[in-house]
Symmetry: C2
Subunit: 329 residues, 2 copies
Amino acid sequence: MNRKGSEYYIKGIKAGDKYILGKAITLMESELGVDRLLSVEILRNLSAKSSNSFRIGITGVPGVGKSTFIEAFGGYLISIGKKVAVLAVDPSSEKTGGSILGDKTRMSTLSNNELAFIRPSPTKNTLGGVSSATRENILLCEAAGYDVIIIETVGVGQSETHVRNMVDFFLLLMLPGAGDELQGIKKGIMEMADGLIINKADGSNLIMAKQAQSDYKNALHMFPPTESGWIPKVDICSSLEKTGLKGVWDIIISHRELLDQKDLLNDMRNNQNVTWFREQISQSLLSHFFADENNLQLKRQLEKEISQGKIGPKESLSLLMEKAFAIGD
Amino acid sequence: MNRKGSEYYIKGIKAGDKYILGKAITLMESELGVDRLLSVEILRNLSAKSSNSFRIGITGVPGVGKSTFIEAFGGYLISIGKKVAVLAVDPSSEKTGGSILGDKTRMSTLSNNELAFIRPSPTKNTLGGVSSATRENILLCEAAGYDVIIIETVGVGQSETHVRNMVDFFLLLMLPGAGDELQGIKKGIMEMADGLIINKADGSNLIMAKQAQSDYKNALHMFPPTESGWIPKVDICSSLEKTGLKGVWDIIISHRELLDQKDLLNDMRNNQNVTWFREQISQSLLSHFFADENNLQLKRQLEKEISQGKIGPKESLSLLMEKAFAIGD
């Protein structure tokens, strides 16, 4: 096998070569030790300067029309001169297993555009792994000259908090029948949103969408603003009729203006990195601990007994830790 | 020192002896190995049967009147024949360092009542430790015959998620001027609430409080229901004039009726225990890892460099793990 060195990747990415960018992303997602070392070397050489890109997280329940929205919104961004990268996080049931064919088919117009780069979901589903790689992939796309990086996630899983912590702006897509999809959305996601966009605001849905906009606006107004002082905005759009897309971008721009005005962008991104680092220490320690099959089996056994009310959690913890380290909790 | 055995505590608690209950709680909060062993033994003997108690978390920003509310609400509960225990979680700035004097002074009427037990905040502030002990303390209070266990926390810290995960019902206290205190509340807390009570609904505040109630009702209606299908309720009360307290209790009762109807109470509590167990494994591994001063110092150094944008988080993680385990991430 003819392995390429870091120079090959660095040069290729800086030149905006999509093929090499794709290969570098595969490398970031690899768990092989040798790939990891190469990844770190590439990143060290690329991420020296901070980027002025827009990192946008997009979520919403299956059926809300995320793919169509990203296709339409991405098209709008390209029409105003932006280069757009789309990274998907969850291999979700609504997609064909997160396969390349599935994702590229979903966004056929965008994926054929020279100024767009679409990266489908990794097939593996370890949350730590995926969100770790996605974070690095954002940096690669920025180094390759993409101005807007869209991270797509499904608003029903566990990954939203992780995605929230790697983007500048978190956008929640909703359906016009306000309340209809509430059952599907995980609690807490609405409060994470910087913007709430009601999609499918077209045809006979338009009146409902406007009503939902007004309802959500009132609702969000009752909730605490973000740390930056940003108050989440609500708007409507139609991916089908390609209306309201400029409005979405205007919201994102005014959010960025607020961050710039308070000089918060880099601080926020650096803080996100610190948070991620801390979380990953936990993850690494857990992986290391449960690499020992005995620990894993005992943990599963104890969880079962706790869920049946047969043993208390404190006693369980003592048992596990004593077994593993001969220490207390 | 004349150490008491587990029999002393078990008998005393079952007899409802407040002095022994207090001593047992001190034992739960102790980090000494010998105390920990004794704690586990006591718990094993007490928590065999599941309790039909009400575990209620109460939060709200400083100034919302939590102590006065708990004093008034606790008084109401006692008047209808309940025994009430109050456990505080945060040693917060609004209290006098969480000292016994501070807490007992805050709720003087309640603390002098034979049917109430008030346990002030532990002075140590390690989140894991506090919430760990609080979880056990709930069990002790239940074994001592308390029907309602109130866990008080301040809605601005890190402990709400932990408290949410150890109670049946999470109540958020708000002020009449809707929106006034939003700056102080941490994002995500409103979505965790099963009930939202607007306190200080008296005198010239009454009209404002009713308006806030209507506004919050509309807002909460736009948010996803809890897993049990419960839709959070909003009501008003005055701790000063002791009005609306029955309304608060009615909400909690109807929530319990829903859980009973779906036979969810024990499942929910057991699941909370499993979640807690998993979180504590992480905590224990982190404590064990950072007990090594070298690991701790390297972590701090790396965090500093990440926050200054000097090094990437992935590279930092590699460095830390290689140093500690001679492994990758």
